[in-house]
Symmetry: C2
Subunit: 122 residues, 2 copies
């Protein structure tokens, strides 16, 4: 893999910034304390109600969970479906598109596993 070939014309700063934007997008989407925890909860849990997700993530408040879910929904990572039951139930589920994050998650994790070993062995 050769980063230089992939980003051929980064000598000018504006050109460089252009290359950085998609990187920043992905980082923004995934950064913060809870995003991965929510993604993995839904990955393993399939369709889940709000309360179920919350029970699976000790320490998260309803307000924060709601905000994070909304953000992920806006980006097409998950769907929020309201069922007309009594009481109304709201169900969240990862989209097929959300699942395309697997490569990103695994690559970040793989590097991190190795990095943790390196740091600990120092």
């Amino acid at each position: 893999m050769n980063l230089k070939e992939d980003l051929p014309d980064a000598s000018g700063y504006s050109e460089c910034t252009k290359h950085l934007l998609p990187l920043m997008d992905t980082m923004d989407l995934l950064s913060g304390r809870w995003k991965f925890v929510i993604l993995l909860a839904l990955w393993f849990g399939g369709k889940m109600r709000f309360k179920e997700i919350q029970r699976n993530i000790p320490g998260i408040t309803g307000k924060v969970l709601s905000k994070e879910l909304k953000h992920l929904e806006e980006h097409g990572i998950l769907t929020r479906t309201v069922y007309d039951t009594s009481p109304i139930s709201v169900v969240y589920e990862l989209t097929a598109y959300g699942k395309t994050l697997d490569k990103v998650i695994l690559t970040l994790r793989e590097w991190g596993v190795n990095h943790r070993k390196k740091i600990i062995s120092k």
Copy 2:
């Protein structure tokens, strides 16, 4: 790619947290406004003095650049070498280990490029 197979035993929360730690490590290392800009400046620039890096990154203050470089050095991503010239010169360079971040950077970027298209076409 199957995330479920890679993280086989995430039913308990503590097990799940254990899987998340390396992910968090990588995100922590790369998050923030400047990390990627600094990495790419050194990627394309090779060996660079502090002032050269700063000139390549409009808007960054000396204090922030110094802090970010120190953080990346502590993680083994780059080296800081002091040469006994007059005046003393301090040169930064990515390590071979720092360059192993290429896969992470390309994967994040690839997903982001696609995501940007998707968001724009909405």
